[in-house]
Amino acid sequence: MSGPKLDELANRCGEWLRGQGPQSEIVISSRIRLARNLSSFPFIRRCSETDRVAVERTFREAIASVPQWKGLIYVNVASELSPIDRQFLVERQLISRELSEASGARSVFIDSAEIFSLMINEEDHLRMQVMHSGLDLDAAWEQINQMDDWLDQRVGYAFHPRLGYLTACPTNVGTGMRVSVMLHLPALVITQQIEKVFRSLPKMGLAVRGLYGEGSQAMGDFYQISNQVTLGRSEVELVKQVAEVIPVIIDYEQQSRAFLVKESRKDLHDRVSRAYGILCTAQTISSEETLHLLSSVRMGIYLGLIKDLEIPTINKLFIHTQPAHLQKLRGMNLDTAERNVERAHYLQDHLRRRGNGDVGQN
């Protein structure tokens, strides 16, 4: 059942790169995830395959019985998915690398708008996440809280009166909640102010990660900021803790952009136009270079240095030029060299068409 439905997703952009919502020039997405475990099974690493199958079935049946979740896409990650499809879901942030790479019974439910997903047998029995475009944490919390309530009525969660929701790793115990906001901060990177921001965040109990979560590199000037602790504060307090610092960082980024425009407009315009030029004319290009150049172009659009493109177009290119997306859109497996050529063609097609061939003119 996964094939055609996933192919349908491939042509779209997904919620997190929709490029709308509050502060969406700088805030890509707001995401909240909750970790939950069943009280009557061992945590995942101690589960036998029989246990994993039983946990998977318990959650699958519970989720299927929620009337509001009738239209969810169910994907059996263990048996139905090719490596490309798994990578595709990781690129769309609908499943984690951990779920993609694990072995044994595991699955995911995805809503067709791609706003939420429920991963079964990840590091914890259940990891649910809600993702909204732009800065929209309160609404994301309201939604995931409701989802959690629906499942709470149907399964027995592992819960301790003093420690809260029990998780496989003690770093998640308590609320089991991670609130994260993805930001696009190119000007802070160019002006080398980013280090300063990052040094101050841990003191406020916040962590910084790259585009694809824990341990990943900061690609294309994208950064995720999230809460460090999960115990001792309520969910609403944790949301507030993250929400409070985001406007400050947005302000820094905007100041840095204004500074660049004022102090080195020519250099900045040159950098942005060159990036646009390469994207329109390259014959072979890696996904890393693409991300890097798209990042410059995205900032150029925001600053009015590029007038014939819109941010949602760039967001779409960000996701569609990722390795698995490219292969799905092309409908065949491609090795790295072939992908680099295909990526260049894809970019040319989509950017030239938009800009009527007037590369970098504005």
């Binding site: 009557s40 101690r46 036998s48 590091e123 003093r162 602790v229 999960t230 115990l231 309520s234």
Partner: protein
């Protein structure tokens, strides 16, 4: 006592927790500095990892002998040993939070700075009672099947079914 790497008197006594067995090292100040810098993980380790926090905490509190004993303790429900936990950083079952409470409490305080949950609570809290016993029974049944003791396995299965209802 002499330094294990040179002839100077050993003033640093380090308990290394990264191997399968806790290992004691006796070093002079110079050798200890070199040793500790090598094992520091370098500038890449920005946030303290769980293993680091745990190792630091255990180093402060216990002698190697006590540690070896602690490492062998295993949860009566899921069977995970303390060594497996501190090696992998993942617990085996919800009951571990009680069984290893003495070791986990300072760790949790270290990570979160707080020890008490103040957030949301499940509405079905009462239903979570028999969970740990089910974990133990399922493991026992698994073992019985492996040993081909099907009589015991079927007895355990009935017990599990009884508890599940």
């Amino acid at each position: 006592m002499k330094c294990q790497q040179c002839e100077k008197p050993a003033t640093f006594h380090i308990t290394e927790l990264t191997g399968p067995q806790p290992q004691e090292l006796h070093l002079c100040e110079v050798c200890a500095k070199t040793y500790l810098l090598q094992n520091d993980g370098g500038p890449a380790a920005v946030a303290p990892t769980l293993a680091n926090v745990l190792a630091k905490q255990l180093k402060l509190g216990q002698a190697a002998e006590e540690l070896a004993k602690l490492d062998q303790r295993s949860c009566p429900k899921c069977g995970i040993t303390f060594y497996e936990f501190r090696n992998q950083g993942r617990l085996g079952c919800p009951h571990d939070y009680e069984y290893f409470e003495r070791e986990l409490t300072p760790l949790i305080m270290n990570i979160h700075g707080e020890g008490k949950h103040t957030g949301k609570r499940p509405k079905r809290e009462a239903a979570t009672g028999g969970g740990a016993e089910l974990i133990r029974l399922r493991r026992a049944m698994d073992e019985a099947i492996k040993k081909e003791d099907y009589e015991l396995a079927s007895k355990l299965r009935d017990q599990i079914r009884g508890l599940e209802q």
